[in-house]
């Protein structure tokens, strides 16, 4: 099985339907796309998945960071780092 969105071939089963055998929820371990097996082909099959929503490994790696991680105020072992309990 391949991911409809990024074509990766490692897919996890996240959960299965409470009524046994009706559907599974699957997830691509690379792009995190998640889908239910009973969804329409346009969401579940690579060949039918819309081009505008497809993702490549480069898309994932270069995706903008929102929000940007700020610089640390103090070094991890900074002696002057304020404690939550200090006032």
């Amino acid at each position: 099985m391949t991911c409809p969105r990024c074509a990766h071939d490692t897919i996890d089963t996240v959960t299965t339907s409470p009524v046994p055998g009706v559907w599974d929820i699957l997830q691509c371990v690379r792009c995190l796309y998640m889908w239910r097996t009973t969804e329409p082909d346009r969401r579940t099959r690579r060949e039918a998945y819309p081009v505008e929503f497809r993702m490549t490994p480069a898309d994932i790696e270069t995706a903008p960071e929102v929000p940007v991680v700020p610089p640390l105020l103090y070094g991890r072992n900074e002696p002057n780092r304020p404690s939550r309990t200090a006032s």
Partner: protein
């Protein structure tokens, strides 16, 4: 009587014929989202939708479109369902003046009935999750009231924030979420990440209808949403202490999810069909580790369809965007009469104002852009005279067409901030903004030929009554 939880509000909607139970079996996708999408396309007065027969589930209960018409919005505010939009907004503004109303703490919250902890946590066992739009990267929680505190001032009740943010389920105990930098939770996360600390968070789902309204309301950073909920309800908002974080959460929630935003971590998220009518993403966004879920027995999962306006979100964030802008503008400019910020959460805004002197209307427009909400929205402001109703779009178009000299009345300011989802920005987060001054110039601004306006004849009101009476007597 104000509603203390979602269930009692659903009962009210049903009594008022504003809740439709879909009893025949539906598919989780695409039926649930398509039905809620359709609710926004069938004209005024659409009901809330309730589903409890969803293929593959044994005990799903799903409520959608709960705020998705003016009738439902009126009932959420405990007003008669036929209350006009303008009357709803005026009543909203009137109740605002009671702010702050202290909340009432009740520790017998029904969501204490059931708990999932540690390795037993499985969001899919509690919530019947489903996809909304085709390009969405997964299943979303899009109508939660998310509670966080300022790590620099954790005991400040007003700085404790209650807000609605898009949240993607990326695992049984993992979420990704979107703190838009202009929103309060982003300030909390920024402070925590500067210290290298996780940010504790409580995500409350299925709330009373006023909590949902205040969670989507652009209030001041240190103003408490619970104290505003009390003002809007006309009674204290019931709150309880979340067991893991100790945060104040709504007493009436169906589900309370607690955990932490993992410090300095980002993971691919989205896309998601947004309130702008466009998808956004995928971007690398913060992740949440879920550590505890508390929930009522037989929880109702509330979700909201959003896409090309109008959909439920437009009703939900219409009045609650107009009123804060009106109040914030009036603080400095009491000349402001009314604000219509109902378009895409106030990306476009119409303001009616009296003029103190020439150039004043443009100053009001600029001030709207520099309110807390304006920093992320208000890309276009149309300013009209005090006798133009900003909710009456034909009147607004008359003012635009007759009063505007584009050379002098259209002001464009480049490179201002906007929330990153605004699709027209070239660089996400940066845009130009525009003021259209459609007011009548006043001295010393003596442009144009406006000194002889045609006014309704003095006898017109009398004839209005006569015509109405004659028509009624036919």
């Amino acid at each position: 009587m104000p509603h203390d939880d979602l269930r009692s509000f659903l009962d009210t909607l049903e009594k008022e014929n504003q809740l439709l139970r879909i009893t025949e079996q539906v598919l989780p996708e695409p039926d649930l989202a398509a039905a809620a999408n359709a609710a926004g396309r069938i004209g005024e007065g659409a009901p809330a939708l309730y589903f409890d027969n969803v293929k593959g589930f044994t005990d799903a209960r799903i409520a959608m479109n709960v705020h998705g018409s003016w009738r439902n919005h009126a009932l959420a505010l405990d007003l008669p369902p036929g209350t006009s939009v303008r009357e709803q907004i005026e009543e909203f503004a009137r109740r605002w003046d009671a702010f702050p109303v202290a909340p009432e703490r009740r520790e017998d919250a029904p969501w204490r009935q059931n708990t999932q902890l540690g390795p037993d946590i499985d969001l899919f066992k509690v919530l019947p999750l489903f996809r909304l739009n085709d390009g969405d990267g997964g299943f979303y929680l899009d109508k939660a009231a998310v509670v966080s505190r300022d790590p620099r001032d954790p005991d400040h009740f007003g700085k404790q924030n209650v807000g609605t943010y898009r949240i993607e389920v990326i695992g049984r105990d993992r979420l990704a979420f979107q703190p838009v930098p202009m929103h309060d939770v982003a300030q909390h996360l920024h402070a925590a990440e500067e210290l290298g600390e996780d940010l504790p968070i409580a995500i409350t789902l299925g709330n009373d209808p006023v909590i949902t309204i205040v969670a989507g309301m652009p209030m001041g950073y240190d103003q408490s949403e619970y104290e505003m909920a009390g003002a809007l309800r006309g009674a204290p908002a019931p709150i309880a202490t979340a067991p893991l974080t100790g945060f104040d959460v709504p007493w009436g929630s169906e589900v309370v999810v607690e955990g932490v935003v993992e410090s300095r971590k980002r993971q691919i998220e989205g896309p998601f069909g947004e309130f702008t009518g466009h998808y956004s993403g995928g971007r690398r966004m913060p992740t949440i580790r879920v550590d505890r879920i508390s929930y009522r027995t037989d929880p109702v999962f509330e979700s909201l369809y959003l896409g090309m306006p109008w959909t439920e979100v437009d009703y939900l964030v219409g009045p609650n965007t107009c009123v804060p802008l009106l109040k914030q503008l009036r603080t400095e400019f009491p000349e402001v009469q009314a604000v219509n910020a109902m378009y895409t959460h106030g990306l476009a805004v119409i303001i009616s104002t009296k003029k103190r002197y020439g150039g004043f209307a443009k100053a009001v427009g600029m001030r709207a852009m520099t309110t807390p909400h304006g920093l992320g929205y208000v890309t276009q402001v149309i300013v009209v005279d005090e006798d133009v109703d900003p909710f009456d779009l034909p009147q607004v178009m008359w003012a635009m067409s007759a009063k505007v000299n584009p050379q002098d009345d259209v002001v464009i300011v480049p490179n201002l901030s906007v929330m990153a989802l605004a699709p027209a920005a070239n660089t996400p987060g940066i845009t130009s903004k525009m003021i259209i001054d459609a007011t009548t110039p006043v001295a010393p601004d003596n442009r144009g030929h406006f000194d002889t306006p045609v006014r309704d004849l003095p006898e017109t009101p009398e004839w209005t009554d006569r015509l109405r009476a004659l028509i009624a007597a036919r």
